[in-house]
């Protein structure tokens, strides 16, 4: 059984939602990313999304845009992201780790080489927000041969036919986008979430993780009864950027623990 499946099975047995924080690699700097991820795992994160920075993140709001620009200014490349993965994997063997990034940096690295190097570094899958199933064939075919999962996204605007088609291809879990919009912390969870989750469940038994706009423990508590996992993106990035280095480990641990507690059903 792979790490992704194990993470969702363990959470189900413990009657809680999988907690999946997102870190832009190299924001505010590379050592901070390793430190922040380690703290999050110690505090109960089941799955880590490592954001591979891109110059033109068109599905992202201001927070992740800013962090990506800063990371690129820190000379972060896909190579650095692989190194960060190796460092984390050396400490934590059971946590599922993903790359989340736009297609072009993966494409330029070379899909075959990416699959080899990512699998060797300990990556479990890829989330590529600008790669819908119509275009995902070349990447999906190659990485699946290396036992890496390509995680597909479903949005509130996805009609039932698309949900059905995406569900057939899905491995690992499906990333459900909570709202019609870009990433970024919001005050409240979108009212459309229960309807979206119900529509997706009608087509698949694959675990469903919910992301976009989930930033607080009360958000997690409100959706934990109906989803299998939650992704915390911009709020995590803000925390990493705004917290003084000396306090970072403690602040990240406290935050992730509060999310994990809120995720218990």
């Amino acid at each position: 059984m792979g790490r992704i499946e194990q993470a969702f099975r363990r959470a189900r047995e413990e009657r809680r939602a999988v907690i999946a924080p997102y870190f832009t690699v190299g924001y505010p700097d590379v050592p901070a990313t390793v430190e922040g991820v380690s703290a999050a795992i110690r505090a109960g994160a089941d799955l880590i999304e490592l954001g591979v920075p891109f110059s033109d993140p068109l599905a992202d709001g201001a927070t992740i845009q800013k962090s990506s620009t800063a990371a690129l200014n820190n000379s972060v490349t896909l190579q650095s992201c692989l190194e960060v993965t190796r460092l984390i994997r050396a400490q934590f063997q059971d946590t599922a780790i993903f790359f989340m990034g736009y297609y072009n940096p993966f494409l330029q690295y070379g899909i075959e080489k990416l699959a080899d190097d990512a699998a060797a570094a300990g990556i479990d899958g890829l989330i590529v927000p600008d790669l819908p199933p119509e275009e995902s064939g070349p990447l999906d075919d190659v990485i699946s041969r290396h036992s890496l999962d390509l995680i597909y996204l479903i949005a509130p605007t996805s009609p039932d036919e698309r949900i059905e088609a995406i569900s057939k291809r899905a491995r690992g879990f499906i990333y459900c986008v909570s709202l019609t919009g870009v990433t970024g912390a919001r005050d409240a969870v979108s009212a459309g979430v229960p309807a979206l989750i119900q529509r997706v469940r009608a087509h698949t038994d694959v675990p469903l993780a919910l992301g976009f706009g989930i930033s607080r423990p009360d958000h997690v508590a409100s959706v934990a009864p109906i989803v299998d996992g939650v992704v915390i993106g911009s709020a995590m990035v803000n925390l990493m950027g705004d917290t003084p280095a000396a306090e970072r480990t403690q602040v990240v641990e406290n935050y992730v623990r509060s999310l994990a507690d809120a995720g218990r059903r």
Binding site: F54, S55, D56, P57, L58, A59, D60, G61, Q65, T69, L72, T77, L78, Q79, Y102, Y103, N104, P105, F106, L107, Q108, Y109, P129, D130, L131, P132, E134, E135, Y152, L153, I154, A155, P156, T157, S158, P159, R162, I166, V177, T180, G181, V182
Partner: protein, 405 residues
């Protein structure tokens, strides 16, 4: 208006050889599919086509004239040079052709809010104009840097009732304006139509924009047959995203004796790295929803570009032009900022026409090419826009010299 149904994409919809596709977030997939279906229905709808045709003639000023540039021809001492006068279209550039078509399409689809990106401001002005004409809400995203260097167009858009939003991310130019427009579209996709201004973006945009611009080449081809009794030997057009080039080239796609020359912006020179020549110096990659030639570093990060003309200052190019390059249907060259300024002055002084800085790249190349050809050859150049918007930039660059002469 006739929509030409043959072209590089006739075999596989959405792809031009290996280029094109739709690399967009899932949230937009339903919208691009709806757009594709609505556009397919609109181009079979005689009422839509006759409304577009009517407005093109009675509002936008079509057909635009074909002008024999006699003194420019004389001075170049070679091929005869004809200008397709898109500078005479309403709002001063070819951009109105696409804006009119797409905003009519948006209205037919029942969308109430229109968004657009703009670089030089010509596409923003054209979109704001059609929105004013049809009474639709209009928001235009424009890089902060472009807002400064194209101030007259910002003023025009605001006069027309558009909301001009300054984009301060990244290089603060056209590329970032496209990103921001995409983010707006992702957020407001239910009631919003995104009018892309060039032959870029996810399928079906490169096809839609090309089809609405193809009127340029269709008219010019007929006009040329009328005055010369034969087709031109060469076509010349400047290339940023590529809409005026595709607009001119498309009707001649099947005329294998007609050579096509696209002119990119070499900025300070290709070897300085400060340019916008995606076809000349890019690599295949994904930007703004399609696979095409992209200026990028070894790690796939899109690089910052430079051109004196805001409309060419873009690191990508339409996928159909990448296909034309790969199949050698067209060849691509580049012209520096300094050479474009020469082209600007040349047309002003030989023909009494002040061209846009974008078009000035094509003028320099047309004159350079003409000199290498014989008087039997005919160059048809797309004069894509007029230069009023560039007077501040040009006087800054040439100020001292103009004072003296």
């Amino acid at each position: 208006m006739t929509i030409v149904k043959t072209g590089a994409d006739a075999e596989a919809p959405g792809r031009f050889g290996r280029f094109g596709g739709r690399y967009v977030p899932e949230t937009l997939m339903a919208a691009v599919t709806e757009l594709e279906e609505s556009y397919a229905a609109a181009r079979e709808d005689n009422e839509f086509l006759s409304r577009l045709d009517h407005l093109s003639r009675t509002y936008a000023g079509r057909p635009t004239p074909l002008t024999l540039a006699e003194r420019l021809t004389e001075q170049s001492d070679g091929a005869r040079i004809y200008l397709k006068r898109e500078d005479l279209a309403h709002t001063g550039a070819h951009k109105i052709n696409n804006a009119l078509g797409q905003v009519l399409l948006a209205q037919r689809m029942g969308k109430t809010r229109i968004i657009a990106e703009t670089g030089a401001g010509q596409h923003g002005v054209a979109t704001a104009t059609v929105c004013a004409l049809l009474g639709l809400e209009c928001v235009v995203y424009m890089g902060e840097e472009d807002i400064h260097r194209q101030a007259p167009n910002v003023f025009r858009m605001r006069l027309l009732g558009a909301d001009v939003v300054s984009v301060t991310a990244g290089s603060r130019t056209l590329k970032d304006a496209v990103n921001e427009a995409m983010r707006d579209w992702v957020t407001n996709v239910v009631n919003t139509y995104y009018v892309i201004g060039s032959v870029v973006g996810p399928h079906p945009y490169p096809v839609i924009v090309r089809d609405f611009q193809a009127v340029i080449g269709q008219e010019a081809r007929e006009q040329m047959l009328e005055v010369e009794g034969r087709l031109p030997t060469h076509l010349v057009a400047c290339v940023g995203g590529g809409s005026n080039a595709m607009g001119l080239f498309h009707a001649f796609y099947g005329d294998s004796d007609v050579a096509m020359v696209g002119v990119e912006a070499a900025g300070h020179g290709i070897d300085t790295g400060e340019h916008s020549a995606s076809l000349g110096a890019g690599k295949p990659g994904v930007l703004h929803g399609s696979f095409s030639q992209v200026l990028q570093d070894d790690w796939g990060q899109v690089t910052e570009t430079h051109s004196i003309s805001a409309g060419l200052d873009y690191p990508g190019v339409g996928p159909e032009l990448s296909y034309y390059q790969e199949t050698e249907r067209a060849r691509f060259t580049s012209v520096t900022d300094a050479e474009a300024l020469e082209g600007f002055k040349l047309l002003a002084r030989t023909e009494g026409i002040i061209p846009a800085l974008e078009s000035s790249h094509a003028i320099f190349e047309a004159a350079r090419l003409a000199a290498t050809l014989s008087p039997d050859d005919i160059i048809l150049m797309n004069l894509s826009g007029r230069g009023d918007k560039d007077l501040a930039t040009v006087t800054d660059a040439l100020g001292i010299e103009l004072d003296r002469t």
